[in-house]
């Protein structure tokens, strides 16, 4: 082998390694994500005894269907609410929050962009300030309001305090401002009322931002934890995340890990499906609104 060939070969090798490098890094990243989830899945296929006798078997055991059936229809011994009930609650909360946010934000943005009225700035800044008041910093007094209104253990209580969204108002406002005003003027000349303009022209034009907002807010709603923890005390109103927490409370030996893990996987499923199916809208929505 001549010196030149050797150099070429070495260059070729570095090139191959260089080409593989991003793949290796990305697979490592994927492993970091998938590896813990695989163990959850594995745990949901074993019996309680197998898991308690650590280390649990690392494969997929034969009790998968049995465990998911128990999770879906019965729940655990220490928490008798089945996943189906909690799934319904989570779904109502997530859909209520996402559609509620979209509707009231669309209306508010419509008013702020297309009308001139004395309290316009005031309204805008009031909505803006809500950005600085997340639930976490006003836990007790918000709880008291809900309790005074008799909305503990109700869907309204779960949903209403969550449906204000400065982010959604900003996004829709931004989008409305990019629409040529001639369209509004023309609709008016053609005799349409402002609400007809909103329903038949503006709302259909806003489809893409609405879809983006829906994905983000559905996930936000589905993943609410602190708020339902505060205001749901009756098992029939537990959301999935609260249910998981209840299944895991108590001494380690009493925890039915296989059911808790099956429930955890089931709780991940709906929002993950939404993100995967609507990935494009989701990424556009995230990077458009939040920046």
């Amino acid at each position: 082998m001549t010196a030149e060939q050797r150099i070429n070969k070495a260059a070729h090798r570095t090139k191959v390694i260089k080409g593989l490098f991003p793949h290796i890094v990305l697979w490592l990243g994927i492993a970091i994500i998938i590896f813990p989830i695989y163990f959850i899945f594995s745990a949901s296929s074993h019996t309680s005894a197998e898991i308690q006798a650590a280390p649990m078997p690392l494969g997929i055991g034969p009790h998968l269907i049995e465990n998911y059936r128990q999770a879906l229809f019965e729940g655990t011994k220490n928490m008798g609410t089945p996943v189906l009930v909690m799934m319904k609650n989570s779904l109502i909360m997530a859909l209520g929050i996402s559609t509620g946010k979209i509707i009231i934000s669309l209306l508010a943005a419509f008013a702020i962009v297309f009308f001139k009225f004395p309290l316009r700035n005031f309204c805008f800044w009031s909505i803006f300030i809500t950005l600085m008041l997340p639930v976490e910093v006003r836990i007790m007094p918000t709880y008291k309001v809900i309790s005074d209104l008799g909305m503990l253990n109700t869907y309204a209580g779960l949903i209403l305090p969550m449906i204000v969204s400065a982010t959604a108002v900003f996004l829709f406002r931004q989008f409305f401002m990019s629409i040529p005003r001639e369209i509004a003027e023309a609709s008016q000349i053609d005799g349409a009322t402002p609400m007809q303009f909103f329903r038949h022209i503006l709302a259909p034009m806003t489809r893409t931002p609405i879809a983006a907002m829906f994905v983000i807010q559905f996930i936000y709603g589905w993943n609410q934890y602190l708020w339902p923890l505060l205001i749901t005390t009756k098992p029939e109103f537990y959301t999935l995340l609260i249910g998981i927490n209840r299944m895991m409370s108590g001494a380690d030996v009493q925890i039915e890990w296989q059911i808790a893990m099956a429930t955890t996987l089931l709780a991940m499923l709906p929002p993950v499906i939404v993100v995967v199916l609507m990935q494009k809208q989701f990424i556009a929505g995230m990077t458009e609104t939040e920046k």
Partner: protein, 294 residues
């Protein structure tokens, strides 16, 4: 700019903003005002008398070692999460932004965990590291002979919380870094390459400066996440243990209010947290050119 066309209707716009404003006032402003008011009073937990005590609730907090511990651990927690989650995500985003095969597969695989809730992230890592049943805990104990008892060992507890919280945040950062990298003009990077700039130099001299708005935005968002949105992870994994040492600020507000029913102190803590959010938000809006100018 030409005058924008606007609808003329005296009452309609008020009806349109009404739902939003009603909820803003009932569930945001009123409770916030209540928190401020309550922070100046002592109240017995059973809804009884309120006694005005001035700044006493605040001054008690300022001399309470528990509160300072909570403050310190929250800050350390937020900083560690921000650093680890942002570094790893940026590194992954740079690789995924290269023109390689399967790039869109990689992107999907790294984006979907955005949908995983903070609580679920906590539960997953809790299970893996549970001293009795956890697979990783088993390896730590039997292969590496670590005395793994995170509920008794602050460092272990802190490590576990940070890992779970950072893991959850990877996808979020990845989405933004990737979007940021895609907006860096490829021609600029290529030009630098032709001029002989190595990969590291191209990154630090061209890509990183152009990425700084994204980085700055994520810095604020990660700190906000670390401080305010990690309640579910602490609630699931340590409940503040060992002792109260991992009880971050938000966890402490919740515990003092809901469990200990110390409403005055909880309210004072809420007000301090509110100030923190305001500072962070103002900071973010002042330094990032946001489109929310009126």
């Amino acid at each position: 700019m030409a005058k924008q066309y606007e609808f003329k209707a005296p009452i309609l716009p008020y009806l349109l903003v009404l739902p939003q404003m009603v909820i803003v006032f009932i569930f945001f402003f009123w409770p916030a005002a209540q928190a401020i008011l309550q922070s100046f009073y002592l109240q017995d937990p059973f809804g009884g008398r309120m006694i005005f005590v001035g700044f006493q609730n605040y001054s008690k907090l300022l001399v309470d070692p528990d509160y300072w511990q909570s403050f310190r651990v929250s800050t350390a927690f937020a900083l560690c999460i921000t650093l680890s989650a942002m570094t790893i995500s940026l590194f992954l985003a740079i690789q995924a932004n290269k023109k390689i095969r399967f790039a869109s597969f990689y992107k999907t695989m790294l984006v979907w965990p955005y949908a995983v809730s903070t609580l679920v992230a906590g539960v997953i890592w809790l299970f893996l590291f549970n001293p009795n049943v956890g697979v990783i805990a088993y390896v730590l104990k039997h292969t590496f002979h670590v005395d793994w008892q995170y509920l008794l060992n602050f460092n272990q507890a802190f490590f576990l919380l940070t890992m779970a919280a950072s893991w959850k945040q990877l996808a979020y950062n990845f989405v933004f870094f990737l979007a940021g990298l895609q907006s860096v003009p490829a021609t600029l990077v290529e030009a630098a390459e032709i001029d002989g700039a190595g990969a590291a130099r191209r990154f630090w001299k061209i890509i990183f400066p152009l990425l700084s708005p994204t980085t700055f935005y994520l810095l604020v968002m990660n700190l906000v996440y670390g401080f305010f949105e990690t309640f579910p992870i602490v609630h699931a994994i340590t409940q503040g243990a060992p002792g109260k040492s991992t009880g971050i600020l938000v966890y402490k507000v919740w515990r003092d209010g809901v469990i200990n029913l110390d409403l005055g102190s909880s309210a004072a803590q809420s007000v301090i947290l509110m100030l923190m959010v305001i500072v962070l938000t103002v900071f973010q809006f002042r330094f990032i050119e946001r489109r929310v100018t009126y």
